[in-house]
């Protein structure tokens, strides 16, 4: 078991192998993720019961919660990739960070926007300086810093190392930000708002939510593979294996 995992890990570092395998996986991931998103949206928007307190407005949960949760997961996975890059100098980790950062930033933005649209009818305001909102905003700023750093170095290897350093420093700092915003928040306003209250959600609402979370995660997997392939093809366009695979001669 360990040996197969180790083999898989070593194979993952090879661009030709990844290019071949990802080409086979992408159609399935794409079809599955999009159909899951469509099913969960229809289920969530039309068939799940109306909320007793919030009315129909709560249905934005089916976009809001998956987007926010996937944006955090992407950042943590990027920091693992950053550690892998700094320790083993695995080029694939640099590709991973570069191609996943825009996707993570996009989902953080979707999470912030859908939260604002949800907040307007329920809280009566677009934005509250609540602990969760503020730390999500800081997460968005970290993503922007990572994306901005990509273009400042001429050599690809230096840029990857710099971005890995930033990602790791960011992941060290993120819990501190979260905690300090929590303390700051409690001074100014009593903690009266709980955003999801997932424990109290009924199973008829929970099921489409879980489906949509699964769909969004698969969607990130799908788009991540696509953009990693694009990144690999720009980096390796002059290599022999790539010319053989891609038929552009």
């Amino acid at each position: 078991m360990f040996q197969t995992l180790k083999n898989f890990y070593h194979k993952l570092g090879s661009f030709p192998w990844f290019y071949k395998i990802s080409g086979k996986v992408i159609p399935f991931a794409g079809v599955l993720s999009i159909s899951l998103i469509v099913i969960s949206s229809i289920w969530g928007l039309f068939f799940s019961p109306t909320d007793a307190v919030q009315g129909d407005v709560y249905r934005i949960i089916y976009f809001h919660v998956p987007a926010v949760s996937v944006s955090q997961v992407i950042y943590y996975s990027m920091s693992i990739a950053a550690a892998v890059f700094l320790i083993w100098r695995m080029k694939m980790a640099g590709v991973y960070i570069k191609s996943l950062a825009p996707i993570g930033a996009a989902f953080t933005f979707i999470g912030l926007m859908s939260g604002a649209i949800w907040g307007q009818p329920t809280w009566g305001t677009w934005w509250v300086w609540d602990a969760r909102l503020t730390s999500t905003l800081v997460l968005f700023l970290f993503y922007l810093a990572i994306i901005g750093m990509q273009s400042t170095f001429a050599s690809r290897k230096s840029a990857d190392t710099a971005v890995s350093i930033i990602t790791l420093v960011g992941v060290v700092n993120l819990p501190i930000v979260k905690k300090s915003v929590d303390w700051w928040n409690t001074l100014h306003q009593p903690a009266s708002i709980s955003i999801t209250g997932e424990s109290s959600i009924s199973s008829e609402m929970l099921l489409p939510l879980l489906l949509s979370i699964l769909g969004i995660y698969l969607f990130v997997f799908f788009t991540g593979l696509l953009s990693m392939r694009a990144e690999i093809s720009t980096r390796e366009q002059n290599k022999d294996w790539f010319k053989k695979v891609s038929n552009y001669n």
Partner: protein, 219 residues
């Protein structure tokens, strides 16, 4: 050991001969502190409530002026390359550079922030937490500035500030909160302890990261 003392003396000499390095943050600080009453309101009650946040944000922004100084000139004249080649303990040298930069760019501002008692009507009991939180919080900000400066060497881009300001958020929150606590008669020592903890926790991490970032420029 003698080597590091020599570097320390050299850094002191460089900073003291180059007056712009410590005058420009001070001028920036004084100008913006006197702009707030004009721009917002000259009502003492309003300014009194805003003062802690205004002072901290201004200090944060005035470090943006000086963080490029830490490595930029050494990078241009090539002395960083010599330091890298010297085989000495690089993180200690970076620490010395950050320390001297802090003394020349942050210490004058901390002294000047006492003027906020007159200019921003900060109550006198807010002075002690202001000075203490600035003394402990600004070294952390200088650390982030060193990392941002090392990463954005030789480039005039937004990436340095864009990296440094979100990182400094906890320091800003804890610093202003300490002052607000003392104005409301709450014990503020927990915030000072947390600021110290953040400084001690991040010091080795940021030092290693900045050394790694410096090495990037000389492959």
């Amino acid at each position: 050991m003698i080597y590091f003392v020599k570097i320390l003396k050299k850094e002191f000499l460089i900073y003291s001969r180059k007056s712009s390095s410590f005058i420009s943050p001070v001028v920036f600080f004084l100008i913006s502190i006197s702009l707030y009453p004009i721009g917002i309101s000259n009502d003492p009650d309003i300014l009194k409530n805003l003062a802690p946040g205004l002072i901290w944000i201004t200090v944060l922004l005035s470090t943006l002026i000086s963080f490029q100084n830490i490595f930029a000139e050494d990078y241009e004249d090539g002395s960083i390359e010599l330091l890298l080649a010297s085989g000495q303990n690089l993180s200690l040298i970076v620490l010395i550079k950050i320390f001297v930069n802090w003394i020349f760019s942050c210490l004058p501002i901390i002294v000047l922030s006492m003027f906020s008692i007159f200019l921003l009507y900060l109550p006198i009991e807010g002075l002690k937490p202001l000075i203490i939180s600035l003394l402990i919080g600004t070294p952390t900000i200088c650390l982030f500035g060193a990392l941002a400066g090392a990463l954005s060497l030789g480039k005039n881009s937004i990436t340095g500030p864009a990296l440094m300001l979100p990182l400094s958020l906890p320091v800003l929150i804890l610093g202003t909160q300490a002052i607000n606590y003392s104005l409301n008669g709450i014990n503020f020592s927990s915030n000072i302890l947390l600021l110290t903890a953040i400084l001690i926790f991040l010091l080795p991490i940021i030092l290693f990261a900045s050394v790694g970032a410096l090495k990037l420029h000389f492959n």
